[in-house]
């Protein structure tokens, strides 16, 4: 995928973390596997908090917007909660505060009502965004164009799954394992179905500055584009290789070589998709959520692939729908792929749901 400067980035909208040297790497084509499908040029959107402050509005107008937004949030009460487990007023009020933090440049005190405040979006844009949030139930993270996850801030947009807080734990599992295992730490890890690149970047940082590398794959060109943007923002382009394609398909050159395999694959049973919270069901990509009839389609495929692709002693961690799926997955790995895996464990998330299957390839 070639990125030409004029097509994708206006110079002054470059993310702050890009230095001039990595700026020039934008002009070079990325090294994708030759097996990937034809490159599609998709523009990643710049998150609100990184956009240039070329707008301004009077403080009194901003306050008016904030009061209006708060009124709208309070009027929701618990209607969303009751209908589909959506957000309540207090959550919406907090989101409004964060929206304002991302949109407004200077939060200094002692500004007069008539003074102009620098903004990254016009005041009309703010009205529009909040309406989208409350009326269309557009996810907050898409509204501000980013998600705070672990100690990162990742760009997200429609077409890319918003990284979940539960998934943060997978990086901790990897960190624990590599802290005692130099061999794994300097190996090649794979994050399949990377979406925004969250796990790839999280693991990339854990593997440190030694030889460890990460290959991240995703079926969706939008995801690959956004993940690339995020990887560059964290200056990890030398450590993380992004490949477009389905699961293991872009990894044919890594057969028997993977030191680690992580994934948060779609695991929701198809029948449950229609009943999902509006933010998820109406706006997030179905392909990242739907796991087939029992929700396990992708997980089983990953297990099968792991047998072939991982090296002996390699570590794997998968996120599942919890409880039943975790047990079913471990059963499958022990009974249908017996001898392939060892030290299999099920770990809970912080809400107490048995959500993760971790283990080693024998």
């Amino acid at each position: 995928m070639n990125l030409s400067l004029s097509g994708v980035y206006r110079p002054h909208s470059l993310p702050k973390l890009l230095t001039y040297s990595s700026f020039s790497t934008l002009c070079r084509p990325f090294c994708y596997s030759a097996l990937s499908s034809s490159p599609t040029c998709v523009k990643p959107q710049v998150p609100l908090f990184l956009r240039p402050p070329i707008y301004s509005t009077k403080l009194c107008d901003l306050k008016k917007w904030h009061d209006w937004g708060k009124g709208v949030a309070l009027s929701i009460g618990s209607t969303f909660v009751q209908s589909d487990d959506g957000p309540d007023s207090s959550m919406l009020c907090r989101e409004l505060k964060w929206l304002m933090e991302d949109a407004v440049v200077d939060h200094s005190l002692g500004v007069e009502d008539d003074d102009r405040v620098k903004m990254r979006i016009g005041i009309e844009g703010l009205y529009c965004l909040w309406k989208q949030r409350v009326q269309e139930r557009r996810p907050f993270q898409y509204v501000v164009g980013c998600e705070h996850w672990r100690d990162l801030v990742l760009s997200v947009q429609e077409g890319v799954l918003i990284p979940r807080p539960e998934t943060e734990l997978v990086v901790d599992f990897v960190a624990d394992v590599v802290s005692e295992n130099e061999d794994l730490r300097s190996g090649v890890w794979a994050d399949l179905g990377t979406g925004s690149g969250a796990l790839a970047i999280g693991i990339g940082r854990v593997l440190g500055s030694e030889r460890g590398r990460v290959i991240a794959t995703d079926l969706s060109p939008v995801a690959v584009s956004v993940a690339t943007y995020n990887v560059q923002r964290y200056c990890l382009q030398d450590k993380i290789d992004l490949r477009e394609g389905s699961w293991f398909e872009p990894l044919k050159d890594m057969e028997g070589k993977l030191a680690g395999l992580v994934s948060n694959p779609p695991y929701i049973p198809s029948k449950d998709i229609s009943g999902l919270q509006a933010e998820v069901g109406r706006h997030e990509p179905r392909v990242a959520l739907d796991g087939g009839i029992d929700g396990m389609q992708a997980l089983l495929h990953l297990c099968d692939g792991a047998v072939l692709m991982m090296k002996p002693g390699g570590f794997l961690a998968f996120e599942t729908n919890g409880e039943q799926q975790s047990r079913a997955l471990v059963d499958y790995m022990k009974n249908h792929r017996s001898g392939s895996f060892c030290n299999l464990e099920i770990r809970a998330d912080f809400a107490g749901i048995q959500r993760f299957v971790i283990g080693f390839h024998q």
């Binding site: 487990d85 907050f140 799954l161 779609p266 919270q277 912080f350 809400a351």
Partner: protein, 462 residues
């Protein structure tokens, strides 16, 4: 020692002696004067250093305070009403410690010399195991600072003896005698300087002084007015922290109906933060006309402040199995099913039952990190208090003993003054103090008092 009002309207009242517990030890007036002179000098000097970094860039400049040049500039800015300072300003000599104190110190110095000799002998033995070797080396390193000073002192004392005999011998030779007298004067000065430095190095230090801290402000009695004052106090510390170049990061705020703070906490990071702020723990009392008061009456409310040194998991030996982490669990299945911005985390320390809940960071990971930070600080503080109470009664009565229910300061708005009850200092501008200025007036005096308490402990422990 009476009261005197200086040019800034500063009233200083000295504490009269230190009666302590069962011990019959009492600092003589002469010792007190000497110590006050010395420590005020050291204080002023340290302030010189901190304010004029360019003038003192080499280590060798440190031991030669020239108070004729620097002292008056700073002395005038506060506390100039104390007669002791006048004494100090015009005397160029180093303070002399009393014979009793010197005696006690001498015993300690001999003990250090003996210990050093033992360690050196041990290290010269080939049979020492590597771990014993390392331990001995570590102890030697710790003592090395004192040992160097002791050696310098011994040398100087020999020099003085030599000069004494020279003076006795050359009572006829006027020139020789004068030269000897002059050198003797300098040598004695130097001996005193070394003794002062050694005393300082022998005093107990608080390791926690270097750490960052957690500030907790809680509205006490007085309803809404207390909450509003809690907010004012919280902001006062924020401004003070910013002036010091420290980082002030809000952890949690619980607002009252009138937008005051029922409770508020923050993490303050910087060099030596805890050492400076530790005296702020206690009850701060305010007397003013509340905004809610229609008849203009003055009300009294109270706010409690707690300063905890920051610690990490290693400091408090926090084990993973001792900590339970919970997150908000909606009715649904979580994970991919849910889109939520509620990443509140509650951390529970199972052995003690301490529970910390943080919700205002934008990621669960960051909420968890903050909660653990606060938990570690609380555990560390619990351990420190436990140690403190197990020490001598003398120590526990001293400044900084951590009694949170002690009323330490009163802010009187109608009369425009702030009084610290522990050192008896009043500053005549409430507004300045609330803007984060001039807290140093109290803090410096409290630090001085702490040093004097430390000397009392040092002396009584022999």
């Amino acid at each position: 020692m009476g009261k005197e009002a200086g040019p800034n309207g500063l009233i200083v009242k000295q504490r009269s002696g230190l009666a302590c517990g069962n011990s019959s030890f009492h600092l003589s007036d002469r010792d007190r004067k000497a110590l006050t002179m010395r420590f005020h000098g050291t204080f002023i000097f340290c302030r010189c250093l901190s304010r004029l970094p360019k003038r003192f860039d080499s280590q060798s400049e440190f031991p030669h305070p020239d108070f004729r040049r620097q002292a008056p500039f700073f002395l005038r800015s506060y506390s100039s009403g104390i007669p002791l300072f006048n004494l100090f300003m015009y005397s160029e000599a180093q303070a002399q410690l009393s014979p009793e104190l010197l005696n006690i110190m001498e015993k300690r110095l001999s003990a250090i010399e003996y210990r050093t000799a033992c360690l050196n002998k041990f290290l010269n033995q080939p049979e020492a195991s590597p771990s014993e070797y390392a331990k001995a080396n570590k102890e030697l390193r710790k003592l090395s600072g004192s040992v160097d000073l002791i050696n310098e002192l011994r040398t100087k004392q020999k020099e003085i003896d030599g000069l004494k005999s020279l003076m006795a011998e050359s009572s006829e030779d006027k020139d020789m005698l004068n030269m000897a007298i002059e050198e003797m004067g300098q040598a004695i000065e130097e001996e005193r300087r070394l003794q002062n430095l050694l005393l300082k190095s022998l005093l107990p230090k608080d390791d926690a002084d270097e750490r960052d801290c957690i500030l907790e402000v809680r509205a006490g009695t007085g309803g809404e007015e207390a909450s509003l004052f809690a907010m004012d106090i919280f902001r006062m510390y924020e401004k003070y922290a910013l002036k010091k170049g420290w980082k002030f990061e809000v952890v949690d705020i619980a607002q009252s109906d009138l937008k005051g703070y029922k409770e508020a906490s923050s993490a303050i990071a910087g060099v030596g933060v805890f050492g400076k702020l530790k005296f702020e723990s206690g009850i701060h009392r305010v007397q003013r006309v509340p905004v809610t008061e229609k008849l203009g009456r003055v009300h009294t409310s109270a706010v409690s402040v707690a300063i905890l040194p920051q610690a990490d998991a290693v400091d408090v030996q926090l084990k993973n199995e001792d900590v339970r982490i919970d997150t908000y669990r909606s009715g649904g299945s979580g994970g991919q099913h849910a889109n939520t911005t509620n990443s509140a985390v509650r951390v529970t320390h199972i052995p003690t039952g301490i529970m910390i809940a943080i919700q205002d960071e934008r990621s669960q990971h960051m909420n968890k990190a903050k909660a653990l930070k606060v938990l570690c600080a609380k555990l560390y503080e619990m351990e420190r208090l436990r140690l403190h109470r197990s020490r001598s009664k003398l120590r526990s009565e001293q400044i900084g003993s951590g009694d949170r229910s002690e009323r330490i300061r009163t802010y009187n708005f109608p009369q425009g003054r702030v009084t610290d009850h522990r050192v008896g200092i009043t500053y005549h501008s409430v507004d300045d103090v609330m803007q984060g200025e001039n807290l140093d007036v109290f803090i410096d005096a409290l630090l001085l008092q702490e040093e004097m308490d430390a000397i009392a402990t040092f002396s009584s422990s022999q």
